[in-house]
């Protein structure tokens, strides 16, 4: 599990420092602080840093450049990231403009620790279109394109989906077995199947979802799958059809 990478766009050092302090205390990684619009763009499109969330102050040096930045990153498809606006006033005209940069979440200054964490979670939920996840008692994970966002205590963690070997479902919980770690998330199987990329993940049993890229051997006679890291997973008759997806060499 990795920390969430946050980019801060804030022109007042005192404010950004306070923010950094809060985020670090809650196991977020601040990958950069941009003071201006151009700097923000440069940091955002830097391929070396994987940004998960952007915190944007609407007013940069008295101009609404924060909104401009959001508008800019929204134009490029599949490149946008969840973001949160920060503002000290609820000016209607500014907000009407900001609202157009969907998904839209904002936080009014001054804010406390809980509020900023909540705002970040909301931004992730809204961005991936899975609302009321982190607040509910039946689910704690949002599934993004590349990562699972899992709520651990007060903060969010991410897991690279490609690292997952297989998922074993037990009641409301899912045991996620990755290459280097094992952990439990709170999520129903149906939702999981629904949200995971079917090209990558297949159900092999009532309780098992397998990353097809991690399969090393299929032993049909024994109803057994051998995965990377020597994990063994049962293959039930009901789900045997998934084998047809592979080109079988004869």
């Amino acid at each position: 599990m990795d920390n969430i990478n946050v980019l801060i766009i804030e022109d007042t050092p005192a404010e950004s420092d306070a923010l950094i302090q809060v985020l670090k205390a809650n196991n977020y990684t601040v990958v950069g602080v941009a003071r201006t619009y151009t700097e923000a763009l440069r940091l955002f499109y830097n391929s070396e840093i994987k940004i998960d969330i952007v915190v944007i102050d609407i007013f940069l040096d008295g101009k609404a450049d924060g909104i401009t930045f959001a508008e800019t990153i929204n134009i490029v498809p599949n490149k946008s990231k969840p973001f949160v606006f920060l503002s000290s006033s609820k000016d209607r005209q500014i907000f009407e403009r900001a609202k157009l940069t969907q998904p839209f979440s904002f936080l009014l200054k001054p804010f406390n620790e809980l509020e900023i964490l909540y705002a970040l979670e909301m931004a992730v939920e809204k961005f991936y279109g899975q609302t009321n996840v982190f607040l509910s008692e039946v689910q704690d994970t949002v599934i993004g394109e590349d990562y699972l966002f899992v709520k651990k205590n007060k903060s969010l963690k991410k897991v690279l989906i490609d690292d997952i070997v297989y998922i074993e479902v037990e009641d409301r919980y899912c045991n996620i077995v990755a290459e280097n770690e094992k952990f439990v998330i709170l999520m129903s199987l149906t939702k999981l199947v629904q949200l995971l990329d079917p090209e990558k993940f297949c159900q092999t049993h009532r309780n098992f979802i397998v990353n097809t890229n991690k399969i090393e051997e299929i032993i049909v006679n024994d109803n057994l799958l051998i995965l990377k890291g020597n994990h063994k997973v049962t293959l039930s008759d009901k789900y045997k059809d998934f084998v047809k997806k592979f080109r079988i060499l004869k």
Binding site: K90, N112, L114, Y118, N132
Partner: protein, 580 residues
Amino acid sequence: MILNIKLIFIFVLLFFSFFLCSQEHSTKIIFKIELENIARRYKKEINFQKANYFFLREEWDSTLVYSMKQLVVSPNTELNNYSHYFRANSFRKKKLFVEAKKEYDLIATTFPFYYNVKFGLGTISLEQRDFAKAVIYFQEIENSPSNSTYDYDNSTLIHNIGICYIELEEYDKAEEYLLEAIELQKSEKEKPLLIGSYMDIANLYYVQFKDNQAIPYFEKAYQLSKKIKEFEPKKKASFNMAVVEENRKNFPKALAYRKEYEQWKDSLNDQNKVWAIAEIEKKFAVKQKQKEVNVLQTENELKEVQRNSLLYSSILLLLLLGVSFYFYKQKTKQNKIILAQKEELDALNATKDKLFSIISHDLRSSVNALKTSNTKLQESLATKDFSALDQLLDNNSSIANGTYNLLDNLLNWALLQTKQAYFYKESLHLQSIIAHIAYNYKPLLLNKNISFENKVTAAIFVMADQDSLKIIIRNILDNAFKFSNENGVITVYIRPTEDDCCYLVIEDTGAGMSEAKQQELLKETVLLSKKGSDDSIGTGLGMQLCKSMIHKNGGRLAIESQEGIGTKIIIILPKTDNNG
């Protein structure tokens, strides 16, 4: 004597027209009946009908016109005979004898009233003094068998024949006819005719110088003339007597008769004059009447015009009145509205003034407190009295907090009033919102040793604008803390209800408030509520802001409180539909 004879001639001639008229009159009754029958038979012949109508009315010109039209249009011989007869008679009446004669000649002998034609021809001859011809016509009538039924004609006919014979100087025959006429007229009791006949026979004898025979007839005629009213026979009779007496050289008598004659003549003239005058008067009267009628007509027209103009003007006036009344009403209504608005504005202005004074007081006092506290802090630092620092800093921060809250509320209120704030209702997780707000109170709770419990379950979602909801809850929590004693408890929970609303209860164990105070707080008023007697400084702005914002979020505010026990502030908000 020659003079006498001449005179007599004149008399005789005068008689003719008289006789002719009488004769026409008597025949007409039968003739009229026959004409009506004919007219009934030929109802479709409009021209004939009209000719007939005018003939009976004795309007000769119109008769001539329509009978001519009838003759041109219709080939019917029977109607033609009648038409010719109408024309002949009309011409004769208009003394156009030649034309009349021509028309008479055109009538066929089969015409049922041919004796009338003959009579007409005879009369024309008589008028033209062709007595021989006249006698022939009259005697033809006398000898024809058909006229015996109309024997009353006979007297005139016979009389006429007699006159003809006088003119032809066949006195014996004349005497015979005239005597017969006298006998017939006596039996018919036609007095004027009888007088004429008497005078004729007297003349007859007189011309033959048979004075002894003549004079009694003259006298008879004179006596008879006295009994009738007509002037003409009286005049003639008296004139004849005058001539007779003159010839007898009895001049005084003659003079008397002459005078009588003159008198009758004058009477006649007078009568004529009277008639003429009457006629003129009548015409004048008619003219006058016409004038009056015209005047009345004009008056009527004038009146109508006046009435119309009056009507129009009154309608116009009424309309004007209505319009002006409408505008007046409108104006008074506007005035009322303006007055009400003015009062409202005055009240608002007063509120604002009051608010301003309170706020300025609050701000000044709190900033002043901060200033003095800072001075103390500096003094403590200078004297290195570190034990007091902690206390002073706490004090400072609490003052700053209070002032900040006041400013925040003021700003929010201003934004709300000017509708400048961004307002967006969304589904909100109530538990986290309350946790977020309560987070800020942690140091305060510890300080006052008040325990706070958030019992709101995770499944509660409400529909509201996040920031306004935060402002509401913050304000209410502020109050709860302010009025809570040490070791107090503040609990936030959801009251279970049946309806679609979420009843968020914020309960404290503080001072509580009276019923009147509760009512005052809930009142829909822009005026600021007065503060209680406690030391807490405030404006009541917080509660006002809360109420306005709850209202804007579509919710309500309720208060349950008991003095000395505690207060429950209940915020009622609509739940999010899709999250039960």
